[in-house]
Amino acid sequence: MRRGKPARGGPDKKRRHGPRLPTTMRRELDAMGSGPARGSDDEEVSDAGAEDVYEYEEGVPEEEAGKNGRYDAVAKYEYEFDSDASEADEDVPSEEGEDMEDDGEDEEKQIRILQETTGMPREAFDGKKRKQPSELPLPHGDGPITIHDLLDNIQGKPGYSKVRKRLQQQEKKTMVIAAPLPKVERDKLDRNMTYEQSKGEFTKWERPVKGNREAATLFFENDVNLGVNTIAAIASEFKPRTKLEKTIDELTRSTEIMEAHKNDGAKILELNKIDVEDVRERQNRLAKMRSLLFRHEMKAKRVKKIKSRTYHRMLKKDKLKAASADFEADPEAAKDYAMKQEFKRAEERMTLKHKNTSKWAKRILKRGLSVQDEGTRAAIAAQLQQNALLTRKMNSMKDDSSSEESSDDDEDENDSEAKILNRGKEKILKVIEEDKEIPNSGVFSLPFMERAMKKQKEAAYEEARRALEEYDNSLRKLEESDNTERNDSINVTGKRAFGPAKNTPEDANKRQKLEETENSDSEYDSDPAEHLGNNEATTKDGIPLGRALLDDEQNDLYKSFDDIMKNPGPKTTFEVGMLAGDSWKTVKSSKGNDDNNVNRITNKSKLQTPIVDPNPKQRDNDPDSDSEEEMVEGFMTISDTKENYELPSQADLIRQAFAGDDVEAEFEKGKMEVLNEENPEPEKPALVPGWGQWTDIQQKKGLPSWMIKEHEIAKRNREEALKRRKDSKLKHVIISEHVDKKVEKYLARNLPFPYTSKDVYEQSIRMPIGPDFNPAISVSALNRPAIVKKPGVVIKPIQYEEVDHHQKPDEPKRVIQRVTPHPNAKKKQSKGATSHKRK
């Protein structure tokens, strides 16, 4: 029976809750008797069933749950609460569970009747019934619920009176619902509405879009935030994902570590507490150091800038002195210094850096020392001395036997020279003495050998004697030069210095000697005899020769430029200059404040009569006869003929008179040639070889008509082309029509896009746009690109923004971009423009 009931929520729920016993069976079971709890349960259920159909339906599963031992206390409580409420409200009380089914049947009937009478769907009643208990505690019993019933419930709440009034009004009117419009009409109306809506939406875009289209430049520059964050920002967003990361994270965030860190930090902070005075002191100290450093630096800079050689020399000396003082005090430093020196010497020996091996020195020597200026010579000398010094030291270090030489750094070379000479002399004397013992056994005892030996000895003796003489000579000379040198060196601080200003023969002598010592020094540790010979040779011819040579040289080369100017010698013919001629000076001196200086000049020029060639010549047209004088004469004579006019010869007159005719005809011919070259004349048609040539047909017929026509067309074309030429009307001018291919790259191949007329285009480029031609205010505007955008800036789609219509239209549009869409986009912006892409 119950199953047969349509549209009830109950059965569905029942089914959901699984199989259950029919009521009859349950009744029997109840009769058989069950546990007290159960019984009470059942009774409750039946109670509930008696109260309301709706509640009953809910109750079933509760009962079942009880059976299965899955009874939920909370659910039951709710249920009971519900049933209490319904019990109080229910207008149809039901005492017993047995009546439940009958009651349901009655209800069915009631609903059906209601359905029949009102014609309303039964759900309405069902729902009403269901809703009634929970929402609207209605006072009266039966009958359909009217709106008034519902209204009573909200009586006294705000808006109640309004609703009531409207209800009353409605009740007064008779309601007639109009038939709906046909679909076509409705659609049309819909469309209209949509159009109106969308029109407003679109027209608001018109203005910004137009503005952007017309703008000369669009800016997309304001948004420079490219979304790249700082490292800290990126790090803050970091979340550990992998296992390792997680463990590390755990470790780092563990409370122990955190606390430790905190404590440590606190400790650090504690330590940071420093006394104010300490800080001040430290600052002062630092400032002092800094200023000292700065001063030192400045000083070093200044010293470095000083170019004076003497200054540097002095400085070096001072330093050396200071160093030596140090050495005395400190043996360690002395040792170091010695090591350094040794190293230096070794280096010098390896590189021979100071021995005229450098490019510079070679070049200077090649050009000749005498040509050089004072500084260069001094430098060379210094270098040589340095070399000598270094090498000598080295020797001394090697064999301590020659203690004499190692004794003094600043030992005079002349002294050593004398020593060398003396020693040589001694040796020779010794040799001479030794020679007297002759071996008198063996081969040497033979008579012819003896003779030969004797002869040889004599020769040797002679030679030795001569050498001795030489030694004496050179020693004497050395003494002399020593004297002179001492005179010099009084003010040259004891060192050798060669000043070109004192370019006397003595000086040259000195130089010579320097070279000598140079030689002797370098070969000193080699065989003394060999050295002797060498020295002898140089002394023999070196000194006098060098002196003579240098004397000569001096005569020629040490003449100053002024001397040349004063004593022009045989080359004076070219010596006409503004300075030499003195005219320049006089002109300059005459340029006083007096007004008539020009007069004076002219007077003076009158005094100097110009040289005018007496015999005038024709204009020098011969390119080959181009000797200077002739050219000059030619130049002067052309004008001369004009000045002192002479009657030209008859032939000349005729030539001049008829010169023009020739020229014009020639020009015309030339022009025709050029024209023919640029627009060649068409070929004249001629008889064609081929068919009919051997007969008279072609001759009779003449040329084919197409040929003649073609020729005529070509002729006409040529004439037209000639007429089109710029020089067609100018008889005396040929303007080349030749198209220069190299120029073509500077011309536009065809009209650039937006332009449609050549004139407009050419007028638009007539003005230069560079900074040389325009003031600064318009240069940037003239050269701005259509879109100004920073690389990397993302151009966002256009956004609508309310525009102030009264703003200045001239201002260049500045498009403002935002990273995130602004919440109140309608807020006016300073430039008041919209941001979007250019279309």
């Binding site: 320049w584 020029s605 200077e628 030339g670 303007i735 536009a748 050549k758």
Partner: protein
């Protein structure tokens, strides 16, 4: 009082307007006739900017360039050409009165002179080998030396640091200190030298009538043309367009540029040999003198004679302000434009009798005419010849060393290539004239081919019997027709002789290392 002020204001406005017109360089396009709205808008903006800058320039000129050239002003019945130098000297200020001088250098023969473009330095070349450079501002001799051979001409290069001298056999380049820098042997025996400042070209004409152009910044010989018109030493550069004018013995004047073998313009100017040529600063006026005792002034836009005088001249020169100096024997005449190219005698100066004037040259930015003659040099005052306001961006007579260096670098950076020399330099960037016969482009060729194929396909065929109109036969015939129509075009396109573009790209373009792995591998 008030009306006078109004008048003055109006005058000032008119003047400003004129200047604005000058600086706006002609009229803008007629925007109303334009149909393209977008272009119209763009052009309107542009024109507005042009107007702005023209106005700014005019105002700047008004305030920054207030000096005007002064001329000799005669009382009635007085003639300006009767004023001797002495009387002019009395009137001028102290500074100007120190500028004229006479220098008598009788031995080393006729002198030629040359000024730097800023007018500060003068180079003097004596025929017999005397060279000297002077600083004209403080009358200082910078360097003087003798080359001991014929010197035919001298020319400054871009500044006074370098100059070229045409000597007996070759031209040489010397520096300021008289050190020989180069010997330009390729030029041969040069008679005349000219320097094109903006292009850094040294142009020379040698005794065989050969015209040489050499780039002095790179040393490259740009051009070497035979004029074919004989020996001449009449050469002048038109400073407006850097075209070189040569005067020839046949009365012709030819104009040359370095990229054309033939002269751009050949004019028959005189019935006898041409003795001198000069160009106005604006580039539209040319003065020529011939042995036929004529001095002619030409309008170079129309190639017509504007004015012709019966006089002789060995040397001509236009000043910056348009005065024309002619030398004749020992006399120098100066003509002035009295409006509408009406050149009338303005000044006259006689040298000592027997002096032969070789070259007259106005000194830039000064009212001074330099004269090189057979007995030395002179310079005279010519009021109103020089530009009174100098633009330091163009030429600065008071240049400091730093500015000079800066300018040199800028000039080198702004050096124009030699191809830009043309008769009308405004032609650059304009649309080129359509060619008479142009080769068809590939696209056009293809289009034509397609048309031909269509035509071949659509030809109607006769209905033929005996199986000759079978569908297969018709298809075959059609195919043949199409092929026949195609063939000439295919041959044309093959004639290009260029391999396929794709292939070339594949062969030539080498990808960067990082992208090489994405390249198509050659199939093995």
């Amino acid at each position: 009082m008030a009306p006078a002020r109004v008048d003055a204001q109006k005058d000032a406005e008119n003047e400003l307007e004129m200047k604005v017109a000058k600086y706006s360089r002609g009229k803008g396009a007629d925007l109303k006739a334009l149909r393209d709205k977008k272009l119209k808008g763009q052009l309107a903006v542009k024109e507005k900017l042009f107007g702005q800058s023209a106005k700014a320039a005019a105002k700047a000129e008004q305030w920054l360039m207030p000096c005007e050239e002064g001329f000799l002003e005669p009382d009635d019945l007085e003639k300006t050409y009767r004023f001797p130098q002495e009387s002019i000297m009395k009137e001028v200020d102290l500074l100007s009165s120190r500028k004229p001088f006479d220098m008598i250098l009788p031995v080393l023969g006729p002198y030629t002179i040359e000024y730097t473009s800023n007018g500060r330095y003068m180079l003097v070349g004596g025929r017999k080998g005397h060279l000297a450079m002077m600083d004209m501002l403080n009358m200082d001799l910078i360097k003087e030396f003798q080359v001991r051979e014929t010197v035919r001409d001298v020319a400054f290069l871009h500044n006074e640091q370098l100059y070229a001298v045409a000597q007996k056999k070759y031209p040489y380049i010397y520096n300021r200190h008289g050190t020989e820098i180069h010997c330009l042997k390729e030029h041969g025996k040069v008679l005349k030298l000219q320097f094109l400042t903006k292009q850094f070209l040294l142009a020379s004409i040698n005794s065989f009538g050969q015209l040489h152009y050499q780039d002095v910044s790179t040393g490259e010989m740009i051009a070497n043309y035979r004029t074919g018109l004989g020996r001449t030493d009449v050469m002048r550069v038109n400073s407006y367009n850097a075209v070189i004018g040569l005067g020839h013995a046949g009365g012709k004047v030819t104009m040359w540029k370095p990229t054309s073998v033939k002269p751009l313009v050949t004019m028959l100017c005189h019935h006898g040999p041409v003795t001198a040529v000069a160009f106005d600063r604006g580039g539209h006026l040319m003065a020529t003198a011939g042995v036929d005792r004529k001095i002619k002034i030409w309008d170079l836009r129309k190639y017509e004679v504007v004015k012709s005088y019966t006089a002789r001249a060995q040397s001509l020169d236009f000043s910056q302000k348009g005065l024309l100096a002619c030398s004749n024997g020992s006399q120098v005449e100066i003509y002035r434009d009295f409006g509408g190219h009406d050149y009338r005698l303005y000044m006259k100066h006689r040298m000592m009798k027997g002096y032969q004037v070789g070259k007259v040259l106005f000194r830039p930015y000064e009212d001074i005419l330099g004269i090189g003659h057979s007995m030395g040099l002179s310079s005279i005052l010519v009021p109103g010849s020089g530009e009174p306001n100098f633009d330091t961006f163009v030429d600065n007579p008071m240049e400091t060393t730093k500015q000079k260096r800066e300018k040199e670098v800028h000039a080198l950076l702004d050096k124009l290539p030699p191809d830009t020399i043309m008769l009308n330099p405004n032609l650059i960037a304009t649309v080129r004239a359509p060619k008479k016969k142009e080769k068809k482009t590939k696209k056009e060729n293809e289009e034509e081919m397609e048309e031909a194929i269509e035509a071949a396909k659509n030809t109607a065929r006769k209905k033929k019997t005996k199986g000759r109109s079978k569908p297969s036969k018709r298809a075959k015939k059609k195919e043949e027709d199409v092929f026949r129509a195609k063939r000439p075009f295919l041959e044309q396109s093959e004639g290009d002789g260029r391999p396929d573009k794709k292939q070339r790209v594949g062969e030539e373009v080498e990808l960067p290392k990082a992208l090489q792995r994405f390249a198509k591998k050659p199939q093995s």
